[in-house]
C-alpha cells in the first residue's frame, strides 16, 4: 500500500515542550491549594500554619515547571 501524507508539520516539536511540562505542576499546585482551602474551611484556627505549608508545597511542586522553562536555555546554549 502506498503511503500518503495527509498533513505535514514543519518546525520543531520542542515548542510544545513547555506546555507539556506545565501540565503536571498545574495540577499539583491546584491540588495543594484546593486541599489547603478545604482544611482551612474545616479548621479556620489553623490558617496560619496551613498557609506556610501551602507555600512550601507550592514551591516544591512548581519547581518542575521552572525546570521546564530552564531546559530551553540549557539545550540551546
Amino acid at each position: 500500500m502506498d503511503t500518503t501524507t495527509v498533513a505535514a508539520l514543519s518546525g520543531n516539536i520542542a515548542t510544545i515542550g513547555y506546555g507539556l511540562a506545565a501540565i503536571g505542576p498545574a495540577i499539583g499546585v491546584g491540588i495543594v491549594v484546593g486541599k489547603t482551602i478545604e482544611s482551612v474551611a474545616r479548621q479556620p484556627e489553623l490558617q496560619g500554619r496551613l498557609t506556610v505549608l501551602m507555600y512550601i508545597g507550592i514551591a516544591f511542586t512548581e519547581a518542575l515547571a521552572f525546570i521546564g522553562i530552564a531546559t530551553y536555555y540549557i539545550f540551546t546554549a
Binding site: 506556610v52 507555600y55 512550601i56 514551591a59 512548581e62 519547581a63 521552572f66 525546570i67 522553562i69 530552564a70
Partner: protein, 239 residues
C-alpha cells in the same frame, strides 16, 4: 556599560545590584540609628519586617534556639531578595537584580553550604547516614533508595532552589516585555481597528506589573522559607 573593556566592566544589572545594596544599607541605617522604646512610624515599619522573618520564618520552623542561630542568614536573604526582585517593577530600572543566574546561584550555594554545615555540626556521624540510608527500609531497596536520595537531596535540591527564583524573575520580565512590545506594536504599527487591541495589552501590562510586585515578595518569602526548611531537615533528630 560602565568601565567597558576593563576587567571591572559593569552591566546594567550589576549597577542595579550595587544601587540596591546601597539602598538597603541606607534604609536600615536610618531606620535603626535612633531606636526608641516606643517606636515611631519608620522604626515600627522596620521592626515589622524584621519581626516577620524572625517570628514568621525562623522561630516558626527552627524553634527559638536554632531560629536565633540562623536568623542573620535568613534575614539577609529575605531583605536582599525582596529588594533585588522589586527592581523588576521599578520604572527606569525595569529589570530584577536576581534575573541573571549569578545572584540566585550564589544565594543557593550559601544556603547549601549552610545546611550541610549545620547538619554535620549537629550529627557529625549520623547526618550523611540519615540522609542517604534512611532507617526502616528493607536492605535490598537501598540499591534504589540511596542513589535517589543522593540525586534528590544533594543535586536537585540546590538546582531547584536556584532555578525557582531565577525563572520566576526571568519569566516575569519576559511577560512584561511581551505586553509592552505588543502595546507599542498595536498603537504605532498595526492597521486600522487593530489599534484597539493596544488598550487591552496595555491594561494587562499594568496588571502584570502589579502581579510582579506580588511575585517579588512571594519568591523572597519562598526562598527564605525553603532555606529554613532545609536547615530544619538537617537539624532534625533522626530516630
Amino acid at each position: 556599560m560602565l568601565f567597558a573593556g576593563t576587567p571591572f566592566e559593569l552591566n546594567r544589572i550589576m549597577l542595579i545590584r550595587i544601587l540596591v545594596a546601597a539602598v538597603i544599607m541606607v534604609v536600615f541605617w536610618l531606620g535603626t540609628r535612633n531606636m526608641k522604646i516606643v517606636p515611631g512610624r519608620g522604626q515600627s515599619l522596620i521592626e515589622m519586617g524584621l519581626d516577620f522573618v524572625r517570628v514568621g520564618i525562623a522561630e516558626d520552623l527552627l524553634g527559638k534556639k536554632d531560629g536565633r542561630r540562623f536568623l542573620p542568614i535568613l534575614t539577609t536573604f529575605f531583605f536582599m531578595i525582596v529588594a533585588m526582585n522589586l527592581t523588576g517593577s521599578v520604572p527606569l530600572l525595569n529589570v530584577a537584580g536576581t534575573s541573571v543566574i549569578g545572584m540566585p546561584l550564589l544565594l543557593a550555594a550559601i544556603a547549601y553550604v549552610t545546611w550541610i554545615y549545620a547538619g554535620l555540626r549537629k550529627h557529625p556521624g549520623a547526618f550523611l547516614r540519615n540522609a542517604l540510608v534512611p532507617r526502616g527500609v528493607p536492605w535490598p531497596l537501598y540499591i534504589i533508595v540511596t542513589p535517589i536520595e543522593i540525586l534528590s537531596t544533594f543535586i536537585v535540591r540546590p538546582v531547584t532552589h536556584t532555578l525557582r527564583l531565577l525563572m520566576n524573575m526571568i519569566v516575569g520580565h519576559l511577560l512584561l516585555v511581551l505586553f509592552f512590545l505588543a502595546t507599542s506594536f498595536f498603537f504605532f504599527e498595526a492597521p486600522g481597528l487593530f489599534k484597539f487591541f493596544g488598550i487591552g495589552t496595555l491594561a494587562f501590562g499594568f496588571v502584570f506589573t502589579l502581579f510582579e510586585l506580588l511575585v517579588a515578595v512571594l519568591q523572597a518569602y519562598v526562598f527564605t522559607i525553603l532555606t529554613a526548611v532545609y536547615l530544619q531537615l538537617a537539624l532534625a533528630d533522626e530516630h
